[in-house]
């Protein structure tokens, strides 16, 4: 089994959003309004009804008390003031640890696995968590983390060394690291596959000539491979940050933000405030913050695309 893209689909067109592949389509006559309208209408209706209109509504509602999801009393920036003075989510911790460790492990596994014959097997094993639902991932790891040493593997292993069972998900000082570890376990395969493709795109002669010149393996890694995969790493980093901002299912199933509010992330807070606490105005403000945080990345995407179209 090979994880590497195969020629069936022109790999770069599909496997990475290849923005350089833009060629102006040559069209024969003048503008064809009827065709354009018919082909675009279904998409346009859905985008307006489900994305554009709700975004505007949510922005407006975020300046309202909005107890029942309707406009009742304008409160100015109150929801935002509350959100920033008492933020009850810890995405920053995720961004710092999850993003860096996923990239680090992904790069190590990509480089090391390339030296053995069973590379594709290792990559497939590490990639499996990407295929399954975050809900299933949550059940798998709740099981591993079980405080009962007859059930939870982790406490059973520690028990062999005389450590008494730890409540991994029940201790507010541990819970976030336990969750981030699950997130890392789930995402390393993705990083490995992306970085493996990047590492392999480095021409063999370049590495070989460095070896001939007497460079050792460490120098080759730090002076050659690392700089050459820095662009894929930054794209991957952006993707992982977006993952963190949208992270919900794993937290909802594993801890529901607990114990207390210790493991809440922004997408969970939005859901909880709006649908459990009925604070639609505040929930909207949280959703708007999610949107605003993602805007620089949107601008980056559009810019990247336009540059590619011009050249």
């Amino acid at each position: 089994m090979g994880l590497a893209p195969t020629p069936a689909v022109p790999a770069q067109k599909v496997s990475t959003p290849d923005l350089t592949a833009v060629r102006r389509a040559r069209t024969p006559e003048g503008p064809n309004y009827v065709a354009a309208l018919l082909f675009l209408l279904p998409a346009a209706i859905l985008l307006v009804v489900f994305l554009l209109y709700p975004s505007v509504y949510t922005v407006l509602l975020s300046f309202n008390r909005g107890r029942n999801g309707v406009f009742e009393q304008w409160v100015g920036f109150d929801n935002y003031v509350r959100l920033f003075t008492d933020p009850d989510f810890i995405n920053l911790l995720w961004i710092v640890f999850y993003t860096s460790i996923v990239i680090f492990l992904g790069l190590i596994i990509a480089v090391v696995a390339a030296r053995v014959r069973y590379e594709s097997v290792i990559k497939a094993i590490v990639f499996i968590p990407m295929a399954i639902s975050a809900t299933a991932l949550a059940v798998i790891w709740k099981f591993v983390y079980s405080p009962d040493a007859n059930i939870g593997l982790l406490n059973a292993v520690l028990g062999n060394f005389g450590v008494s069972p730890v409540a991994w998900l029940g201790d507010e000082h541990i819970v976030n690291f336990a969750l981030i570890a699950v997130g890392i376990w789930g995402s390393v395969g993705f990083a490995t596959v992306i970085l493996s493709a990047a590492v392999k795109s480095i021409p063999a002669e370049v590495i070989e000539s460095a070896r001939v010149e007497g460079a050792n393996e460490r120098q080759i890694f730090f002076r050659m491979i690392l700089p050459m995969v820095s662009l894929p790493i930054s794209v991957l980093g952006v993707t992982l940050v977006v993952n963190v901002i949208k992270l919900f299912d794993l937290i909802y199933v594993m801890t529901a933000g607990g114990p207390g509010k210790a493991s809440r992330v922004i997408a969970f807070t939005m859901y909880q405030q709006a649908f459990t606490a009925g604070q639609y105005g505040y929930g909207s403000a949280v959703a708007v913050v999610m949107l605003v945080v993602l805007i620089p990345i949107m601008i980056y995407n559009v810019r990247r695309f336009r540059t590619a179209s011009v050249t």
Binding site: V9, V14, A25, L40, L47, R115, F305
Partner: protein
């Protein structure tokens, strides 16, 4: 083969000591990769073994106690029948299939217009679609629920599947249009112009030329979207309000909150949820990985 697979021993280690060091290096690599393999397999395998162990055994010893292993299908029978997971499985199919087919059709149509139909502001509109790529679903929850209730209280969209079909479809569009348009635009212009000179309408060009030659790209997108919906919990929490229509992700979440320590049920339930994605992964790996990598922008 990779440049890095080049054994270090080959070019430089010509002395016996050098060869010994190289062999040692290689065994360190094998051990490290072995540990990685174990670390990524064991949690899932543990749950798989547990799903076949009788309840009394699970409560007495850990799954790693393989010398006292008794296997049973009772857990699966119980979770499928008594806990309604069979119904939930069917519900998941009911949600996932239209939520995959609709986006494919609508995205392909729009992508065709963005690549082969000429109209004003085409590129500007396409950039707006790209900007929509990252809009989080959270911005849509409150307006959609309140407006749907206010406008059509009798329809009760969230009681059925219509709400979740449309929500999944709408949020799949920016990525699907982006992906398919980037594929369509690489098709040879001569092929399309020749058909037009022969008098083919746009719809004919679309359905008899563009779609048939784009099957690999459409398949990659379809598989990605299908698994995305299959694995989703959040949208189902918001847009499926009738408990008899819950998909598996919600059913398992319910099991967990009701029977948090009944691992015989949870393990079997989790594997029923995982089985389809795992089959897709192992049988359609190359499409799957392509779709997922392309989806990294989503």
């Amino acid at each position: 083969m990779s440049v890095l697979a080049e054994p270090m021993a080959g070019s430089r280690a010509r002395t016996p000591a050098g060869r010994a060091v190289a062999a040692l290096n290689r065994s360190v690599i094998h051990v490290a990769l072995g540990l990685i393999g174990v670390f990524w397999l064991v949690p899932t395998l543990g749950l798989l073994v547990t799903s076949f162990r009788p309840r009394s055994d699970i409560q007495a010893t850990g799954w790693w106690d393989i010398f006292n292993l008794h296997l049973t299908l009772e857990n699966y029978r119980q979770v499928l029948e008594a806990q309604g997971m069979l119904q939930a499985f069917v519900n998941t199919v009911f949600i996932a299939v239209p939520s995959t087919v609709l986006p494919i059709v609508i995205c392909a149509l729009a992508a065709y217009a963005f690549s082969w139909v000429r109209f004003p502001f085409r590129d500007t509109l396409f950039l707006i679609v790209i900007a929509f790529l990252l809009v989080p679903v959270q911005v849509a929850f409150i307006p959609l629920l309140t407006t749907a209730t206010a406008l059509v209280p009798d329809l009760q969209l969230t009681r059925g599947y219509v709400a979740i079909w449309l929500a999944h479809t709408a949020f799949a569009l920016p990525f699907g249009i982006f992906l398919l348009r980037n594929f369509f635009i690489t098709l040879p212009p001569d092929m399309i112009e020749a058909a037009r000179i022969d008098g083919a309408s746009d719809f004919r060009v679309f359905s008899t030329i563009v779609v048939p030659v784009s099957v690999p790209a459409i398949a990659a997108y379809g598989i990605f979207q299908f698994l995305w919906v299959w694995n989703d919990l959040l949208m189902a929490l918001v847009f499926v309000q009738d408990s008899s229509k819950y998909p598996m992700t919600r059913a398992i979440q319910n099991l967990l909150s009701q029977y948090g320590t009944e691992w015989h049920l949870l393990a079997a339930g989790a594997f029923l949820l995982m089985i389809v994605p795992l089959i897709v992964f192992f049988s359609l790996q190359r499409y799957f990985v392509q779709g997922l990598l392309a989806g990294s922008i989503k």
